[in-house]
């Protein structure tokens, strides 16, 4: 066991740092999805041109094909430099693209992958439905096959960037009467297709980031099915094999910076002399440190055995709840200034309000605990 990096890795770190230092946009990324679109596209284009787009994509698909430790280094430096979130390109780069790489036909790959890498095509997700929530098996959006087309009816919800997206990774029920995980298909849906209505949803922090999407006899070509009709569950799950545990890196660095910022604030404002505040800040600092250790362990596990251990669920849960503790400390130090928040502000209050999603989206904290109990500890199923 060691926590050191080789001279080559350290040199790579220098390269990352140098490039980031000179290329990070001067202006802040806008909060609202539509205002941010141009910003996101321009930044993605820059990353692409410098060879930093798709760092974990294979080189034959235009990616950088970095080793996992190099990915760690890039992501650490990226976060440390406070480089902007890739925003509208997130789904394409981290989810849609990888799914295509694993499952799509050569034609599908050739058409879509370059657009994603260059920031030319924005993707959004289409998994969750009103009433289905964390339960993917409960999908009710239907696709009826008519000739060489699929006719789609239904709705999706919590779709980030839906109103600016070009394509959607859409999971729907193509086999009438099928149950649970069977009869689902994973399709590429053109968001400009007639019959799609996007209803943006405002968050309680004020910005519009996700939307409800309605499908009224939307027709897409059968060719847009990825991985075969009725095979949607397997395709959706296959993306997980692409997840190598690096996803936590950026969060960890960001949380670490936030805690350091809070400690600096508490010192500057004399609040640190309150033993309760000092204690809680010290605790947060220890916990953030432990997340790095957990993440490194997880990544080492991937390197050694080819896949992350079940401990990834633990990192996910702990990071989510730790983030909320950090955000609460943030507003605690603000005192009454908390009250001056208004929709559209981008500050600690915004982070706090937005942070509730961390234990809701992508499987609630309750479901994460079920998973840890059942899959990792082997306790009998509850449901």
């Amino acid at each position: 066991m060691d926590i050191g990096f080789s001279p080559e890795e350290q040199e790579f770190r220098e390269q990352c740092r140098d490039w980031l230092q000179t290329h990070i946009p001067a202006e802040k990324r806008p909060l609202n999805a539509d205002e941010a679109l141009d910003f996101d596209k321009a930044w993605q284009r820059q990353l692409f041109e410098a060879g930093w787009a798709g760092i974990n994509w294979p080189e034959r698909y235009g990616g950088r094909g970095l080793s996992i430790v190099q990915q760690v280094i890039w992501l650490e430096e990226y976060a440390r430099a406070r480089a902007p979130w890739i925003g509208a390109n997130f789904v394409g780069i981290n989810h849609g693209g990888p799914t295509l790489i694993v499952n799509a036909s050569d034609a599908q790959k050739a058409f879509h992958l370059p657009k994603i890498l260059k920031g030319e095509a924005i993707w959004c997700q289409g998994f969750s439905e009103p009433g289905a929530g964390s339960d993917l098996a409960g999908i009710r959006t239907k696709g009826r096959i008519e000739g060489d087309e699929i006719v789609i009816n239904g709705s999706k919800i919590w779709t980030s960037f839906a109103h600016v997206a070009d394509y959607q990774e859409l999971v729907l029920r193509t086999e009438e009467g099928s149950q649970r995980h069977k009869g689902l298909s994973w399709v590429i849906c053109d968001m400009k297709a007639p019959g799609i209505t996007v209803r943006p949803i405002r968050k309680m922090s004020g910005q519009v980031e996700f939307a409800e999407v309605f499908y009224d006899d939307v027709r897409i070509p059968l060719d847009n099915v990825v991985g075969g009709l009725g095979n949607g569950w397997a395709v959706a799950m296959s993306t997980l094999s692409f997840e190598r545990g690096t996803g936590f890196i950026a969060d960890q660095v960001k949380q670490s910076q936030e805690v350091d910022d809070l400690i600096a604030t508490a010192r500057a404002e004399g609040l640190i002399t309150d033993d309760r505040i000092a204690e809680d800040l010290a605790q947060l600092k220890a916990e953030v440190s432990a997340v790095r250790a957990m993440t490194y362990r997880n990544i080492s596990e991937v390197e050694r055995r080819g896949q992350p251990g079940p401990e990834a669920s633990i990192i996910r849960l702990f990071t989510a709840e730790l983030g909320q503790r950090i955000e609460r400390m943030g507003i605690r130090l603000m005192g009454e200034r908390l009250l001056d928040f208004r929709y559209g502000d981008d500050d600690l209050v915004h982070d706090y309000l937005r942070g509730f999603a961390a234990t809701i989206a992508g499987g609630s904290a309750q479901i994460q605990r079920d998973i840890i109990g059942e899959r990792m500890l082997g306790l009998p199923r509850s449901r």
């Binding site: 405002r202 968050k203 009250l339 928040f341 208004r342 509730f356 809701i360 989206a361 449901r383």
Partner: protein
């Protein structure tokens, strides 16, 4: 000794809830009709403990908890205290340091200053939004110089009513979450049948019960001139603030994705709870 509302109190409470349900539903919390203030005045809530009506603080706390549950304007608190302990008439906004909460339609505010109740005059200015979407605020350029009220009971009265508001706020969040847990299904069952959700709801009920009980005791302590009245009101406010914040958060968590949205109502009690925590908070030393 009797810590349950009597029949008269229950009747007043029922009338209060009925009016609030009709006129102050939660989904209008951020845009209430201008006539609402007159309606509240007509209901008599601002003068319950004045000589004219002569009700006790226990009854008043009971009704103000209901106002709190519907996220009624916070200036109902300052107006009621001003009506009881000063000559001021009409609406009185709530002063919180240099912030004047619910500052419209008046140029007078009441708040606590170093633990004493005092009146503040301020220039009417365009009110700005606050975190609590049902409370607009005016921020003064400098800390105001209040005219302190003579009676020390005014501060206790003010603190009691803020506690009552927080109790109602905590209960609003708890009730909303429990209703949602009964109705919303996942994995083919109402989510309230899952122990994790059920226990969150149970804990919300515990917190509500704890702070409401202490509120009753505190109100009676004020009515009965109990020597420990300061402690009891302080304890009530602290427990109610905690309940309002924790229930407010749990409510959003139980609502899941929909709880994160502006259009759902789940965020409203939490934001109100954050506002109330700054109004007459209880310092540690006051309880020791």
């Amino acid at each position: 000794m009797d810590l349950t509302p009597n029949d008269e109190q229950e009747a007043l409470r029922t009338a209060t809830v009925d009016w609030l349900a009709d006129n102050m539903p939660l989904d209008q919390a951020r845009t209430r009709p201008a006539s609402i203030w007159q309606g509240m005045e007509d209901m008599g809530w601002f003068g319950l403990t004045t000589g004219a009506m002569g009700l006790d603080h226990a009854t008043e706390a009971l009704l103000f908890a209901e106002l709190g549950r519907f996220l009624a304007p916070v200036s109902a608190i300052s107006t009621a205290v001003a009506a009881r302990w000063s000559d001021t008439e009409g609406k009185v906004a709530l002063a919180l340091g240099e912030r004047i909460l619910d500052s419209g339609d008046t140029e007078t505010a009441l708040g606590l200053f170093d633990g004493k109740a005092g009146l503040v005059s301020y220039q009417a200015a365009a009110a700005e939004p606050s975190l609590d979407l049902s409370t607009a605020q005016t921020i003064l350029d400098a800390a105001p110089e209040p005219a302190l009220l003579g009676e020390s009971e005014a501060a206790l009265h003010f603190r009691l009513l803020t506690a009552a508001y927080a109790v109602g706020c905590a209960e609003a969040a708890g009730a909303m979450a429990t209703e949602y847990a009964k109705m919303r299904e996942q994995f083919g069952k109402p989510i309230g049948s899952f122990q994790a959700i059920k226990h969150m709801c149970a804990d919300m009920a515990v917190r509500s019960q704890v702070c409401r009980s202490q509120l009753y005791y505190a109100a009676c302590a004020l009515d009965g001139e109990d020597p420990d009245v300061d402690f009891h009101i302080g304890a009530a406010k602290r427990l109610a603030d905690q309940a309002a914040l924790e229930n407010g958060r749990a409510n959003i968590q139980i609502h899941g994705g929909i709880g994160m949205t502006d259009e759902a109502l789940a965020h409203l009690p939490l934001k109100r709870a954050h506002l109330l925590q700054f109004v007459a908070p209880t310092a540690t030393a006051e309880l020791l």
